[in-house]
Structure formats: structure tokens, C-alpha cells
């Protein structure tokens, strides 16, 4: 019997979902509302030099990559399994589209992070 590749996607879904459940609300609040609007944080909190330093440092570089990649795999896996609920027939094409999208986000964020140097 051919080994199923499904467990890999379910693990990525679970890990991304857990990460989003624990840190998602605070991350959106900080990066999308507090920092850009200067609410509670100074307006320069996301200045180029500071974020560049964050994206260059080994630990924070890795964390940024893990957050983006796992969020993408979690979301795409869930969207793929919801297509059926919306009455959309799913097949290899839909699967390639969903997981391909997650792969594109993973590669683009990895290349960007690596190009920033260490």
C-alpha cells in the first residue's frame, strides 16, 4: 500500500493552528494596529532599521519564518477541506492549488529572509 502523505499536512495544520491560537491575536494587534498607529507603541516601533535588525538576527529570523510558513500551511489545509462544505468538488487540481499556495508563501518568505543576510 502506498503511504499516505496526509499526516504531514495534518501536522502542519495542527502546528500552525496552535501557533495562531496562542499568538495570532497579539501578533495582529501589535503589527497591524498598535505599531502602525502608534497606539501604546511609539510610531518608530516598526522603523526600517529596527525591523531589519529583527529579520537579520538568527532567532527572530527563524521565528518570523515559522510563523508565516505554519500560518500559511494551516490556512491552506483548512481552506482545502472546506471546499467540500461549500459544494466545490475537490481533486488533485484543488489540492495542488491550495498546498501550492502555501508553498509559494513559504518559499517567498524564506528567500526574502535569507536575502536580508545575518
Amino acid at each position: 500500500m502506498k503511504r499516505s502523505n496526509a499526516p504531514v499536512f495534518w501536522v502542519l495544520f495542527g502546528a500552525g493552528g496552535m501557533l495562531a491560537a496562542l499568538f495570532g491575536p497579539a501578533l495582529v494587534l501589535i503589527s497591524g494596529i498598535a505599531a502602525p498607529l502608534g497606539l501604546g507603541l511609539p510610531p518608530g516601533a516598526l522603523s526600517y532599521a529596527r525591523v531589519l535588525a529583527l529579520a537579520r538576527h538568527g532567532w527572530s529570523k527563524g521565528l518570523l519564518f515559522i510563523v508565516i510558513a505554519l500560518f500559511a500551511w494551516h490556512a491552506m489545509h483548512r481552506i482545502f477541506h472546506s471546499l467540500h462544505d461549500l459544494g466545490i468538488r475537490t481533486g488533485t487540481f484543488a489540492q495542488l492549488g491550495c498546498y501550492g499556495g502555501a508553498l509559494v508563501i513559504t518559499v517567498v518568505s524564506a528567500v526574502s529572509l535569507l536575502s536580508l543576510g545575518f
Partner: protein
């Protein structure tokens, strides 16, 4: 059975809008829909990284875009969706975890859910404290 399958057209109840028929289904679909918000946030961050790699001018453009009313509205929506994701993720956790026994008694569903919510509150406080500490 001589008729072709197409000759008989039994009534098949439409599945359109099935999830609007019951609040339980609606809540299920809302829970699944949070994945769109998680994807959107991953895309926002990915675009941010691409702009960062393109240099200071590009990054400042992205930052200016984040300050636009539409971006703020989007992030308020994303925040609400993330909160609902966190709530529902730990609500279904008792069903997705294998049974846990502590001292011969099975860990109750309510305990698992409340521990998860408490973990989110602690993680949020820690992250906000980190952002506050890092601000200057």
C-alpha cells in the same frame, strides 16, 4: 430498470446554504472561515518581508499602507477572526486530543479548553510585554 438513469429524476434536496439552517453549522463554518484570516495575515507579513528586502523606501511604503484606514479595518477584522480562532481551537481541542488521564481520572473537556484559553492569555501578555520592552 430498463429506463436510462436520466429518465428518472428523483427529488434531491439542494445543499445550497446548508450551513445557514442551524446555528451549530453556522458556527462550524465561521470557525473554518478563520483560516481565510490566518492566510491573509501570512500574506500581509510575506509582502512586508519582500518590501523589507527591497530596501528602506519600499519598507516605508508598506508601513504607510498599513496606516491607511482600509488596512486598519482589515486588521481589526483579522484580530476578531484570530480571537474567534483561539476560542474555537481550544473548544474543539478535547475532541482532537487523545484522552488524558491524571491520577486515574480523565481530564475533563472543560479543563482542556480553559487551559488553552489561559495559555493564549499568557502568551498574549508575554508578546505584548516583549513588544513594549523592545519599543526603544
Amino acid at each position: 430498470m430498463s429506463d436510462a438513469a436520466g429518465a428518472r429524476r428523483p427529488y434531491v434536496r439542494s445543499m445550497r446554504g446548508w450551513w445557514r439552517r442551524d446555528p451549530f453549522f453556522a458556527r462550524y463554518m465561521l470557525r473554518e472561515a478563520t483560516s481565510v484570516a490566518v492566510l491573509a495575515y501570512a500574506l500581509v507579513l510575506t509582502v512586508g518581508l519582500v518590501r523589507l528586502a527591497q530596501g528602506e523606501a519600499a519598507w516605508n511604503g508598506w508601513l504607510a499602507a498599513l496606516r491607511s484606514p482600509w488596512a486598519v479595518l482589515l486588521h481589526l477584522l483579522l484580530f476578531a477572526a484570530m480571537v474567534f480562532h483561539a476560542l474555537s481551537w481550544f473548544e474543539i481541542m478535547p475532541k482532537t486530543l487523545p484522552a488524558i488521564f491524571i491520577g486515574g481520572r480523565r481530564l475533563s473537556a472543560a479543563t482542556i479548553t480553559r487551559s488553552g484559553w489561559a495559555a493564549t492569555v499568557l502568551a498574549s501578555i508575554a508578546l505584548c510585554a516583549l513588544a513594549w520592552w523592545w519599543r526603544s
